[in-house]
Structures are given as C-alpha cells and as structure tokens.
Amino acid sequence: MKYLLIISLLLFPFLLQESSPPGAILPVQDQGRIKPLDTVARTSRVMISGKEGSAPSEWLLQLLFAPQTTMNQKMILNTYPDIFPEKYLSINQLLPHLNSIYSQITNVPTEEDLYQESLVQLWKRIELYLRLTHTLHDDKQTPLTPYFGITPPHDFDSDAHWKNIEEDKTGWKPFIQSWPNISEPVDQYLEEISSANPSLVRSLKIELFFNTIAPFFISKIYYLIALILFTFLTLFDKKTWPATYFLIAAFCLHTLGIILRMVIEGRPPVTNLYSSALFVGWGAILCALMLSKKYSSLQPVASLIGLLTLSISYSLSLSGDTLEMMRAVLDSNFWLSLHVITITLGYSATFLAGFLSAYALLFSKEIKSTATLVYRIISLALLLSFIGTLLGGIWADQSWGRFWGWDPKENGALMIVLWNTVILHLRVGGYIKAVGILRLAVFGNVITSFSWFGVNMLGVGLHSYGFIEQAFLWLIVFDVLNLLIICKPVRIEQSS
C-alpha cells in the first residue's frame, strides 16, 4: 500500500505530461544556446504575460507563422494602467501608442521613479513581442532585430552562429510553406539534424521532456501537500507516514529536475541565482531526510524549506530562461564548481539549522534534543561554508590573482562562517545552553538570507526593478519573522 502510494506519486507527473505540438522541438539559437522552441515559448510567454499560461508552444507557433491571427489576443501584461484600464492588452491596442510610449521612456530622467519604471517594463514586453513576430518575417521598416537565430550552419554545430531571418531569408522555408501542417517537415528536419549532429537531437528531446513534465512545479505541490498533511496529522495525533511519502516523492522529483538541468546544460548544478535556490533547498532536504530517522521534527521543516525555496526559484524564473550561458569570468574551472556546490550546501545546512530551531522554539517542543541536533548541523554548516568560502578564495587567486577582494558576495559568505563560529564558541564557553543555541541558529537564517539575496539587492536605489523591490520586501518580512521567533519567550523548565 505504502509503496503503491509512492510509485503512483512518482508516476503522476509522467501521466500528466502535456503533449506538445510538432513544432515545439524545432531548435533555435537564443542567448548563446541551442534550445527547443518550446523553451523560448515558455520563457517569452512568462516575460510577456507574467505567467506561463496554457500551451505556450502553440501560442508561439501561431505568433511566428501567422502573426495576424494573434494581433487581437490579449497577451501583454499591462503594468501601466494610465493608458488602458485592462490587465492584459493585445498588440493591436498598443500599436497606435508605440511612439508616445517610446518617446516617454527615452526621455527618462536619471532618477527613475516607479511610474517610469512600469512604463519601461511595458515597453520591454512590447519590444519582445514585436521581435518575436519578426522571427520569420523580415520586415525592413522596423529597427527591431529578430529574437533568435533559426538557420543552422551545414554541420548543425551548436557552438557556431545560427543565422536569423535578416541574415538568411530562406530560414524555415519548408515549415512556412506547409504551415499549419508542419509535423512532416519537422520530422524530416530532425532526421537531417540527427544524421549530422545526433547529440543535438538528444539534448533537444531531453529539454522538451524536462519542460513538459515540469518536475519543480509538481514537487512544489507535493511539498505543499506534505506540509499540510504534517500539520493536520500531528494536530489529530495520527501517524504521519502519508506526509513522509509525499515529502520523499517531492524530493525525488526535485532531484530528477536538477539532474535533467545538469544534463541539458552540461554544467555543475549551481550556475546562477535560480539554480542556487533549487540546490539550497535540495541540500537542506537531503540532510534532513538523512537525519530524520532519529528526529521526526525534521520532516515538516524539510517540507517547508522545499516549498519556500521552490517558490523563490519560481519567482526568479520569471525574468527569462534559467539555463543561462556562463560568463567568461565564471566559465569552466574545477575550483569554481567545487566552491559553488560547497558554499551552497553551507547555505543549506545553515538554513536547515535555522528552520529547525524556529520550529522547536515556536512549538516549544523537544528543546533539548533539537538543540543537540542543531549544534551538529551547525558544525556541518561551518565545515561546508568555511571550506566553500576558502575554495572561492583559491579560485579567485588562480584566475584573478587575489585571494580575497571584500566583494559583497564574499563578505556574505564570510558572515555565515563568522556567525556559525560565534555560536560554536559561545556554546563551548558555556555562555549559551539549549534555548540560546536555538535562538542564535534562527538568527543564522537572517544572516544567510542577507548573504544569499540581500547582497544582490544592495543597489536597490539605483535599479529598482519590479522583482527586486518585491523580493526586498519579502526578505524584510522573512527577517522580521525570524527576529520575532528569536524574541518569543520559552518556558524555563524546558530549557534547563
């Protein structure tokens, strides 16, 4: 019965897998990477509408091959209610206003306010939309360039330049001619690619599979269900195994997602802020599951961490394709991958200690045994964050000639190391006991959140983009909640 549950939970996303239209797999070159059209559809749809919506591939194919039919679809998220009251606008509604919008954003004073900013955001959406419509229709009248390259070189080399419609007018001719029945030419095209560059077809298929099963979305829902089940089952004094199975299933899908991303990108698991959010959660949950045989309170905490980190990564994914190419500075290097993975696991362990302590303090439950566990996790966190930070130093020394540069991100990592060291010394010195360890570990959450996200927001006054501002607010909320938990009185007899 139990095994049946977990197997069905794991199979569920595969049953749910959306079918994609034949054109979804067509390779295009965007942001330096060859990706299936489906990925572009999803990311550009998110950028234009603020959400993925249903059937993004069908939408993009329609937009590419028959732009006229989509002119009246209300797709573009309106962040500027002064022109139109509606939340979504069609491109036909916007076209008469393009000149006035453009002239307003080009005359932006240096001190941008929120009003201007929202107009800039709207313009970016319109621009992306128009560039997409030019992908297959070379239009001399517009200064906008097509959004992505479609015509591969003869050997289908993924690292070479793929021409866009302006550079090569014959691109995608067979598909344009036979639209909307493109499944046959697409199959022919794929065969042609696989005879020249079989690994490309394989990676396209993997990426399309990854997109359609949406592992992170499903696992986020599982984490949520697990959390709700834990709450209710504990409330009614029932056995919590169903929640545990949801947690395990969520973790398996989470792992699968990370592995698929690594395969697609051919990189270590952490390459940007988005993937660090995925990996921080993954590491914390892995650690929690490994220790949870002895400490049952770790499981609900793990579900909460999973839910939070996957929600964070979802909001980070709204700004575009999350499988970005690596910048020259960060490219390659054994030290870098080692450094990033270790430091991210250090964040995981510090968060796990913090969340676990917050849980114990909130419910005044098993204070003493939790404190012992938290102490162990903090020792682990210190090991990981210290080695991770120093590996970063080694890498910087090898590529830039300086071991340490007092860069905000480096400082953030150092602060985690220092804080964990402070806690360990306080405990060894006898200054703090169980409750003290828990409280200080909760403050570790505040410090880690600062060094993970806070340092990226230091320039808030200069570039107040919508997301960052919202994220800053959430960061403050998170920190205040943690401080409240620290200040919560705990009865003395439990702490003795």
């Binding site: 965007d30 590529s399 602060m415 220092l418």
Partner: protein, 323 residues
C-alpha cells in the same frame, strides 16, 4: 540583535553565572572579536553601496581603527585579526589545546591564514600591464599610486630623470586608456580630473623635457608585446564567453623570446610574477593584465588544507559524541 547578544555575553561573563575558569577570558575575547568582525564585515558590505570597494578596504579593513571625524569609532580589520591571533596564542599556551588534535589543527590553520595575509600585505606587489596592440612595453603600472615624471626627450622616450610618487587622489584613477601626459609651459599646470599642481622647482631649465603625471611605473628587465586580444561571446547573445591575450615576452637578460596566451582562469607565471587577464579596452586594441608578485602565495593553500582536515575530523567527533 547582535548588540543584544553582546550585552548578554558581557552580563553572563561578569556575573559569573557560568563556572569561571582560567580559559574564560580568552574565550570572551574570541567571541567579542568574532562579533566585532561580523559587524565590521556587515558594515563594510553596506558601505560599498556608496563607496568605492578600494576605499572601503583602506578605511575599514586594512586599517587599525575606523576613524570618524578624528575619533576612532570601531576597531579596523587589522586590529581584530591581530587580537584574534594574540588571543589564540595565549589560549593555546594556557589551555593545552593540543589534547584535541582536530581543534588544534583548525585554530593553527586559522592563525597561519592571518599570518599569510599579513605577509601578503607587507610584501606582495601588485601592478597592471597596459598593452596596446603591437607596442612593446617594459614597465608595469600601479593601480593606485601616481607619479610625476620628468622625461628627457632628447635622449630617448623612456629616459626618466626623476619621478616623484604622489599619494594623494589615490582613489581617483581614470581608465587605463587615457593618457595623463601634459607639457609644461607655466608655473602651475592643470591635469584633468586631478586638480591644479604647483610647478616643481628647477624644471624649467630642461628645455627638451616633458613632465608627466601618470601611474607609477616599475620597469622590468623584459618587455611584453600584445600580438592580439581575443574576445568571444556566446553566439546569438551579448554574454562574454572568453577573453585572452596573445603576447610575446622578450627577455633582455637572456635574449630569448616566448609566445604565450593568457586567458581568464589561466594566468602566466614568469620570473616570480603572475600575470592575469584583467580587462580590455578600445575594442580589443588594448589589453590590461594584472601582475602580482607574492612570495607567500602558497601559505593560504597550506592553511586551508590544515583547516579543512581539522574541520572534517572534528565533524566526525561531533557526529559521534554529539558535542
């Protein structure tokens, strides 16, 4: 919150609620130093919003005290590091730390890390090589210091008669590709961005001389020529993929020539110096290399190894015994 925590520690410490023993004072100092370091790092991070990172480093971290209107308000990075080092030495001597080997290793490794950093501060030399395509360069330039040089044109372009190091305006450095050269014609002269400087005595006597305010130069016994600078971006994007400089080193002492490629993440080691690809300008016509000379380069590596082994051994102890 941190202040609240400090207050708590001070109270517990002085009220002797915990069993006082001989090691207490060093532990108290350790914790105070760590918390001070935490505050310092936090403040110096926030300060970088308004200040240049180099300035932050000079006024907060690489200093004994942070000064505010002539009053020392907070211990600087050097003070905290030295305090930790001295305190650690005392506690090792007094407490007999050596019974717990992993802990001893962690702390000794840490001490070595601080010593290495101090040695680096004292002895390491950093400079920059600005290479223009097909031009031979036999000097590196300081990133922070300026000099006023008298150049005698009658006997060759590089003949420097006298140069004076200027320490003012150290953080007001213009990009590398703009020359700071000026010709002398009155009692004072203006240098754009650097204010007005009084004329130095006696310079007028040199008819064929030029006075030049520039980055402080260090001449080397070899010269370097930039053959080409390569800049790659990921196709179909603006994301940089790699930078590299193809250079030729001509050594005047040994009369040899060598062709090398320096790229991001793969520097050149030559005559005790390490050359890193730092930057580029003029659409790849100019490449900037960062030159570092540090005899104690390997110390941090050794200390990291020691600390890493110590921490790993310690974690096994913690997991086994729970303390």
């Amino acid at each position: 919150m941190i202040l609240f925590c400090c207050n708590d520690i001070v109270k517990t410490h002085f009220h002797k609620e915990v069993i006082p023993d001989k090691s207490m004072y060093t532990m108290f100092v350790t914790i105070s130093c760590l918390i001070a370091a935490l505050i310092l790092v936090f403040v110096s991070t926030l300060a970088q919003v308004k200040m240049d990172p180099h300035e932050v480093e000079q006024t907060m971290l690489r200093t004994f005290f942070i000064w505010w209107h002539g009053i020392p308000v907070f211990p600087g990075g050097i003070t905290i590091a030295l305090a930790l080092l001295i305190n650690l030495t005392i506690s090792v001597v007094k407490r007999g730390f050596w019974k717990k080997k992993p802990l001893l290793m962690i702390h000794m490794g840490f001490a070595l890390l601080i010593v290495g950093e101090i040695l680096r501060m004292v002895s390491a030399e950093e400079s920059f090589l600005v290479l223009h395509k097909a031009h031979q360069v036999n000097y590196s330039e300081s990133g922070t210091e300026l000099e006023l040089a008298l150049i005698d044109h009658s006997s060759g372009e590089h003949d420097v008669i006298k140069s004076i190091t200027l320490n003012e305006h150290t953080h007001n450095i213009t990009p590398f590709n703009e020359p700071l050269c000026i010709t002398l014609n009155s009692d004072t002269y203006d240098v754009e961005g650097y204010g007005t400087w009084p004329l130095i005595k006696g310079t007028r006597q040199f008819g064929s001389c030029e006075i030049s305010l520039r980055r402080k130069r260090t001449y080397q016994p070899y010269s370097i020529t930039l053959n080409s600078f390569n800049y790659e971006i990921h196709p179909g994007s603006n994301i940089p993929k790699s930078f590299s400089s193809d250079i030729t080193i001509s050594d005047e002492e040994t009369n040899t020539q060598r062709q090398v490629q320096i790229s991001m993440n793969s520097p050149l080691h030559y005559k005790g110096k390490t050359f890193y690809q730092e930057n580029y300008a003029n659409e790849g016509e100019t490449s900037v290399l960062h030159v570092v000379e540090n005899r104690w380069k390997s110390l941090p590596y050794v200390s990291i190894m020691i600390i890493a082994i110590g921490l790993t051994l310690n974690i096994f102890n913690v997991l086994r015994k729970g303390r």
